[in-house]
C-alpha cells in the first residue's frame, strides 16, 4: 500500500457530532455522538446499513443537510478550521475546492439540461478566476484524467449521452477539478454494475495516489471497503460501533454487529447453504432508550447491555469498540 498509516497529519477531526431531524413524529437522532479522525491522503470506509447515519455524517461535514436536518452538538474541524462555526460563505468557498462530494446515482447528479462543459466550467470558475478558454482546457484535461476517451467531443455532450459508469467518471472529474484535500463519496458505485464498479475503484485508488487526497467512502458493501480503504468505521443506529484499520476490523471483528455484517457476505465455502443474517431490525432513532442499541439483535446481550450504553473503548492501537462484550467470535 502507498501511504497508509502515518501518511500525513490530521486533516479532519469530528468530535461528539449530533445531527437531528425534527419531524412530526419526533426528533430523529440520525447521528448521535460520533468521533472520527482522518489523516491527509487516507481512505476511510464508513460502513453501515440504510438509516445508520453514514450519509447524514457525510452531509453534516460538507454542510448540505436537507431540511429539517440540523447539527445540534459537536465539532467538525477541517484542517484547523471549525466547519460548524464557519458561516455559509466560508463553507461555499470550501465546497468543491477543498472538500468535494460524489453521490450515489450518477444519473441524478448531473443536471440533465446542461452540457458537460457548462457544468464543468461553472465549477472551475466558482473557485478560480480564469477565463472561459482556460477553464475549458482544464475541464478537458480533467475528463482525460479520469479516463474518458476523446474528452474534447464529450465536453459538448449532455449527461444522457453518457453511460452510467462514464457519468460517474464525469462526476469524479468535477469533484477532482480543484484537487481537493478531501472527497466524500456517498455510495458512488452502488448504482453501477460490478465491472464498472471495479474500474471506478481502481481509478479512485490511482487518483488518490497521484493527488494525495483523503477519501471518506460511504458504503454498505464491506468487500468494496476491503479492497479500497485504509481504515474503516462501522456505523449502527447513529453511532460508530467499531473503528480501526481495515485489516484488523475485517479479520478480527470485535463488535458483534461487525461480525454479523462480515458473516452475511456470501462466500465460496458456503455456496448453496443459507446465508447468515443478523436477526431483527435497526431500532427507531426517535425514542432511543438506555442501553446498547444493538442488544435486541445481539447474541452476546446481557443485563448490563440493557441498562448501560457502552462507550467507545480502545482495544489496542487505533482500535475503538463500543461493546461490553468485545472479542472476536471467529
Amino acid at each position: 500500500m502507498f501511504h497508509t498509516n502515518g501518511a500525513g497529519g490530521e486533516l479532519l477531526r469530528i468530535e461528539g457530532l449530533h445531527t437531528e431531524f425534527a419531524t412530526r413524529a419526533g426528533t430523529v437522532r440520525a447521528v448521535d455522538g460520533i468521533d472520527l479522525r482522518l489523516r491527509r491522503g487516507e481512505i476511510l470506509g464508513l460502513v453501515g446499513e440504510s438509516g445508520s447515519g453514514k450519509s447524514v455524517t457525510g452531509f453534516s461535514i460538507i454542510g448540505l443537510l436537507d431540511e429539517p436536518g440540523r447539527v445540534t452538538a459537536g465539532r467538525i474541524v477541517f484542517d484547523g478550521q471549525d466547519l460548524l462555526a464557519a458561516g455559509e460563505p466560508a463553507l461555499a468557498r470550501l465546497r468543491g475546492s477543498r472538500i468535494a462530494m460524489i453521490f450515489q446515482d450518477p444519473m441524478m447528479t448531473l443536471n440533465p439540461l446542461l452540457r458537460i462543459d457548462t457544468q464543468m466550467i461553472e465549477a472551475i470558475r466558482a473557485h478560480s478566476k480564469v477565463g472561459r478558454d482556460a477553464a475549458w482546457r482544464r475541464a478537458r484535461d480533467a475528463l482525460g484524467l479520469v479516463g474518458i476517451p476523446s474528452p474534447e467531443e464529450r465536453l459538448r455532450a449532455y449527461p444522457h449521452q453518457f453511460s452510467g459508469g462514464m457519468r460517474q467518471r464525469v462526476v469524479i472529474a468535477i469533484a477532482m477539478l480543484h484537487a481537493p484535500d478531501l472527497i466524500i463519496a456517498d455510495e458512488p458505485t452502488t448504482a453501477l454494475d460490478v465491472t464498472i464498479q471495479a474500474q471506478i475503484l481502481h481509478e479512485m485508488q490511482r487518483l488518490r495516489r497521484e493527488r494525495e487526497m483523503a477519501l471518506i467512502w460511504i458504503t454498505h458493501d464491506l468487500s468494496v471497503v476491503a479492497g479500497l480503504a485504509d481504515r474503516v468505521a462501522v456505523m449502527y443506529a447513529g453511532r460508530i460501533v467499531e473503528q480501526g484499520s481495515v485489516d484488523e476490523v475485517l479479520d478480527t471483528p470485535e463488535h458483534p454487529y461487525t461480525e454479523g455484517l462480515i458473516g452475511s457476505i456470501p462466500s465460496h465455502d458456503a455456496a448453496g447453504g443459507a446465508l447468515a443474517q443478523i436477526p431483527g431490525m435497526m431500532p427507531s432513532l426517535i425514542d432511543v432508550g438506555p442501553g446498547c442499541r444493538f442488544r435486541e439483535r445481539c447474541p452476546r446481550a446481557t443485563h448490563r447491555c440493557r441498562d448501560d450504553d457502552p462507550a467507545p473503548r480502545s482495544t489496542g492501537g487505533e482500535r475503538l469498540v463500543s461493546c461490553h462484550h468485545p472479542g472476536s467470535g471467529r
Binding site: I62, T109, P112, A126
Partner: protein, 326 residues
C-alpha cells in the same frame, strides 16, 4: 419530424369534421336563424324565400355535406347576418384578441414566475404564505365578476382607465395594433389584467410545486457541493428545469386564453373574436360560429407544434429521442 407534423394535421382535420357535425346539429336543435333575422313585419313568403336562400330548407345531412364540399374549396361560407365571408369577419377580429391575450400572458409570466420561484425557494416565510393565500382567492373568483369589479373600482369610481373598448390603432413595421399607442395601452390594461389574474395564480402554483421538487434533487445538491453561488443555482439550474414544465402548461393555457377570452371581451366590450362569437351565437349565425371554431382549432394545433419545438430546444433528452424516433 415531418411525419409527426403530418400526423398532427390529419388529427386536426378529424377534429374539424367532428366539430362541424356538432355545431350543425346544435344550431339546428336550438332554432332557425331566420326567425331572428327577418323583421317582424315580414310575411310568410318573405320568410320562406330567406330560408331557401340560406339553404336551410335542405335536410341537415345535406347542409353538412354542402358545407364540407365548399370548405374543401376554401369557402367557409357567408355570414347570415352580415352577408360577408365568415372567415373574413373572424380574421378581422383576430388581431384584437391576440393582442389582448399576448399582453395578459406576458403579465402572468412576468409576475407568476418570480413569485412562484420565491414561494418555492422559501415556502415557510410569511410573504410566501401571503402569496399562496392570495392566489387561492385568485383561482376562486369568477372571471366575469372580477372583470365587473375592476371596471367598477378602477374605471368608474376612480376613473383611472376607460371602462371598455379598444384604443387607437397605429401601424409600425406593417403590424397594426393598439399596443403602439398610449391610448391603446390604457384600454388594454384592465381586460388584460382580468385575463391574466387566473393564469398568474396558476403559474405561481405550478412553478412553486416544481421548484420545491427540483431543490431536493441530487443535481442541485451536487451543484451546491461544487461551491456554486446560490444565484447561479437558482437562475440556471432550477429555473431552466422549471421551464420545461412551464412551457407545456403555457402552451395549453395560451390556446385556452384565446378561446375563452370570450368572457373578458364581453365584459370589457373588447372587439375581438370572443365578442364576435358571442354575438353570432345570439343570432345563430352558423357560418361565423363554424369559421371561428375552425380558426381556434388551427390556432391550438399551431401552438402545440410550437410548444413541441420549444421543448426540444430546452430539453436535450427529447431532442435525441425525436430525431432517433421519427
Amino acid at each position: 419530424m415531418t411525419l409527426y407534423i403530418v400526423r398532427r394535421l390529419l388529427q386536426s382535420v378529424l377534429v374539424v369534421v367532428i366539430m362541424l357535425v356538432l355545431v350543425f346539429v346544435g344550431v339546428y336543435v336550438i332554432g332557425n336563424p331566420v326567425d331572428v333575422m327577418v323583421s317582424t313585419e315580414a310575411d310568410q313568403e318573405e320568410f320562406e324565400r330567406m330560408v331557401r336562400l340560406l339553404g336551410l330548407d335542405q335536410p341537415l345531412w345535406k347542409q353538412i355535406l354542402v358545407y364540407i364540399s365548399n370548405l374543401v374549396q376554401g369557402d367557409l361560407g357567408r355570414s347570415f347576418a352580415f352577408s360577408e365571408p365568415a372567415l373574413k369577419l373572424v380574421v378581422q377580429r383576430m388581431p384584437a384578441t391576440l393582442e389582448l391575450v399576448f399582453v395578459a400572458m406576458v403579465m402572468a409570466l412576468a409576475t407568476g414566475i418570480p413569485l412562484g420561484m420565491y414561494t418555492g425557494l422559501h415556502p415557510d416565510t410569511v410573504p410566501a404564505r401571503l402569496i399562496m393565500g392570495t392566489s387561492i382567492i385568485g383561482v376562486s373568483i369568477p372571471n366575469f365578476w372580477q372583470g365587473l369589479m375592476l371596471i367598477f373600482v378602477l374605471a368608474v369610481s376612480w376613473g383611472l382607465f376607460p371602462s371598455g373598448g379598444r384604443g387607437e390603432l397605429d401601424t409600425v413595421f406593417g403590424i397594426t395594433s393598439s399596443l403602439w399607442t398610449a391610448d391603446g395601452w390604457r384600454h388594454v390594461l384592465l381586460p388584460a389584467v382580468n385575463l391574466a389574474l387566473f393564469q398568474c395564480t396558476l403559474i405561481i402554483r405550478l412553478v412553486r410545486a416544481n421548484v420545491r421538487e427540483i431543490v431536493l434533487l441530487d443535481y442541485i445538491r451536487f451543484a451546491r457541493a461544487k461551491g456554486l453561488a446560490w444565484r447561479r443555482i437558482v437562475f440556471v439550474h432550477i429555473l431552466k428545469n422549471t421551464l420545461v414544465v412551464l412551457i407545456t402548461v403555457i402552451g395549453l393555457q395560451l390556446g385556452g386564453l384565446i378561446a375563452y377570452s370570450v368572457v373578458t371581451e364581453t365584459v370589457f366590450a373588447w372587439p375581438g373574436m370572443g365578442k364576435l362569437i358571442i354575438d353570432s351565437v345570439y343570432i345563430l349565425d352558423r357560418p361565423v360560429i363554424v369559421a371561428y371554431l375552425i380558426v381556434i382549432v388551427m390556432l391550438f394545433i399551431t401552438i402545440n407544434l410550437i410548444v413541441d419545438v420549444l421543448y426540444s430546444v430546452i430539453d436535450p433528452r427529447i431532442r435525441t429521442a425525436r430525431s432517433g424516433g421519427d
